[in-house]
Amino acid sequence: MASERINQELPVVARFEVRHRNCLAPDGSISRPLPAFASDARLLIALYRSMVLLRLFDRKAVALQRTGRLGTYAVSLGQEAVSVGIASAMREEDVLLPSYRDNGALIWRGVQLEEILLFWGGDERGNHFAGPVHDFPFCVPVGSQAPHAAGVAYAFRLRREPRVAVCMFGDGATSKGDVYEAMNFAGVHKLPVVFVATNNQWAISVPIRLQTGCETLAQKAIAAGFTGEQVDGSDVLAIRAAAEDAIAAARDGKGPRFIEAVTYRLGDHTTSDDASRYRSADEVQAHWKEEPIARLRSYLVNQKIWSKTDEEQLAAECNERVEAAVERYLATAPRPRETMFDHLYASLPEVYAAQRRELAGEHDA
């Protein structure tokens, strides 16, 4: 009897699985049944237009940086579907907590292009959005906005507001304690928050295989007690569908979700980076076959809801919009120097007010 018990396998106490979502194959053909919203041609075209606008905006921003008229800038090339698709599933009253490469989400939510340029041009006024006033500004210290998202979601819960916090970060951020601590807390309290990891395979020069020993990033949610899903991050329909599901579940009190959007950063990390130092042109070339804009365009063209004329019109429109924003940005004079003290405290303590006067050139008598 005793030896029989000893030979028995240990009982399984938990089992987990991670699913992968995809709608469109890289060539734009349908690979899985499409979500309901796919029958809304206007929405699909809106998603497409946003991705195209983002790509043109990025190109212009890099040109400005190269000519000394903008600071360091992070392009979204190749991963436009993630930020646009996620933001498209949010409501206005939800709160976005973006990382520095989530321009697409900000633009979708109504942040003005010139505000984004102001930020990257070194002016804090770029974070004073006229648009989604509760959204957080770009987070530069990687992953450190994740605990804020849990705090925001906790506030929603406390006030019984049907709102959702959406926190976006990259694959590198999932290695940080900040992200795990936030997810763990969100899991404990089943908070209305959605964590989105844009896995673009590279954290500057460090590839995903050196970032984690896990098969997926999505499975990190399992340790925090909620569902993680892996999504084809270059397929905007899949991203939008995953975001809709996750945000609806969070809003309904079913707790947090985690979305791993697997995509590829076709560009450099930022304008200060040269990705050819750490990855081959062949690798990058191969990923161009999966990129999100051509993929959705193929689908739209196949569906006969998009034409060459539409494409030309869109390009002209986007160019005009970007150029107008650039003009407004370049025409914005720097703030007076002493305003660096403004909004430091609700009311500036006298000891710093003296420094402000000194900076402004009015010396104390």
Partner: protein, 338 residues
Amino acid sequence: MPRNAVNSRGSTMPEVTLVEAVNLALGRAMEDDPSVVVLGEDVGINGGVFRATAGLQKRFGSERVLDTPLAELLISGLCVGMAAQGLKPVGEIQFMGFIYPCLDQLVNHASRMRNRTQGRLTCPMVLRTPHGAGIRAPEHHSESTEAMLAHIPGLRVVMPSSPESAYGLLLAAIRDPDPVVFLEPTRLYRAAKGEVEDNGEALPLDRAFVLRDGRDITMVSWGAALKETTTAADVLSAEGISAEVVDLATLKPYDEDTVLSSVAKTGRCLIVHEAARTGGFGAEIAATVAERGLASLFAPVTRVTGYDTIIPMARLEQHYMPSVERIATAARKLCQFS
């Protein structure tokens, strides 16, 4: 629990310890403002390891007094997110030795949220933590690293020294629209007793308090070190030296004018702090006196501080902290200059 004591005016006022005063202020703030939330490790049913939050969960419920997972970075980061959404979180870090994971949140987010969004988002949070040595605690429980925090623009750093100031300053910190780190002198938690009326009256932030008037020497200190500083003032008084004792109370931004006007009167400045000397906050005060008060000085500005070594564990900690004797000796030396 509060005991009734007869005060000098013959009326009865509850006498409470410093930690009870903290508890009274938290309760009052939560009563007055439904957006105040208390969070931290063991702050709920356990009432905090020092009992600062005792009874609050029972009064205000587990949604407003919440036990967090054991993660200090999380506590400070949650406060930032809650505060940006209009709550008034009061986070507790169990000991100052565990506050360092919060520095990223304090430097990169809490202190600059208002400035970097040009006022669009703000961060009205308080992070409370016990400060300093002297309770024979285990390793990592005795730090006094307030100068690191006082170096962060956009933050307020406040340290009470009595039950009265703990009550009034904590209320002020919670009501303040900007982030405040509130450092509570651990060894005074139960040792300091005083009369506190729970009347909801706050003390002003950004102000130093003259605890004792004197004419011969200004002694500036804060937190628990004020205990030895005022005792030293008693010793000196018996010898005919009249010491003025200034409680800095708010270190960031600190009240230069109160320090300078005291030094203008006495001509001598002794700074006492428990923290290590190099880069300690005493250096900041000495620099201010040198820049703005040199003409009134009879004697060099002098510091009596903890040493530039690791704060030792229980067996040696009393030799690390400024003693009454070290303070009195330094003061006598300064008074030889005229």
